[in-house]
């Protein structure tokens, strides 16, 4: 029972264009969502997060959108840069819960 789903294993975009990474969840108790970025042979690094009381959060080139009714969130990267090439994980947690539930990840490749 996968509660957090990233249905696109990979995504390829051109430098300068927008990258849109998608994530769906099934657990309606989830109220806090995070995106992590991971380079090969390194640990995941936190990128951006959003609380369920919001529908958008921005940080520089990165914006996360949350659609609670659809149980869907997306990460927009504008403009995309070659250094953004990495695996992106969506994660979620519920209330007073220590645990993150991760999606399987999407490999983003930004071509020069």
């Amino acid at each position: 029972d996968q509660q957090v789903k990233q249905n696109s294993p990979s995504l390829s975009v051109q430098e300068g264009r927008i990258s849109i990474l998608n994530c769906d969840y099934t657990n309606s108790m989830f109220d806090y969502f995070l995106w992590y970025k991971k380079y090969p042979a390194e640990g995941p690094t936190f990128l951006i997060s959003i609380s369920s009381i919001k529908d958008k959060n921005e940080d520089g080139r990165f914006t996360v959108f949350l659609n609670k009714s659809a149980k869907h969130l997306s990460l927009h990267i504008v403009p995309s840069q070659p250094g953004d090439s990495a695996v992106y994980f969506c994660a979620a947690t519920a209330g007073s819960n220590y645990k993150l539930t991760f999606g399987k990840g999407t490999l983003l490749t930004v071509n020069p």
Binding site: A41, Y98, L100, F102
Partner: protein, 115 residues
């Protein structure tokens, strides 16, 4: 970068042998976690700790045990390693429980191969 180290970084062992992985933090964070990452599965929580000597199971805890005798150290033990435990293991820490404004910070990982 959060001060998290993992040791060893790479290990090859044989089926049936015990293995202990160490996570050490210098941030004095209360919460510590062990995850494994496998192709097609993302990251899955093995065990976590919410204080010294306070631990609980995650979603894939079978075959693993943990101990936390000091704030800074969280040990993951494979009592009798199996080939299915070949994976990359990540330790993470957080100051508070993961909620708005808080996140988990990950170590560099330990790559374990069980032959």
């Amino acid at each position: 970068d959060a001060g998290i180290t993992q040791s060893p970084r790479h290990k090859v062992t044989e089926t049936g042998t015990p293995v202990t992985l160490r996570c050490h933090q210098t941030e004095n964070h209360r919460y510590m976690y062990w995850y494994r990452q496998d192709p097609g599965h993302g990251l899955r929580l093995i065990h976590y700790s919410y204080g010294v000597k306070d631990t609980d199971k995650g979603e894939v805890s079978d075959g693993y045990s943990v101990s936390r005798s000091k704030t800074e150290d969280f040990l993951l033990t494979l009592e009798s390693a199996t080939s299915s435990q070949t994976s990359v293991y990540f330790c993470a820490i957080s100051e508070m429980q993961t909620s708005e404004g808080e996140t988990q910070y990950f170590g560099p990982g330990t790559r374990l191969l069980v032959l």
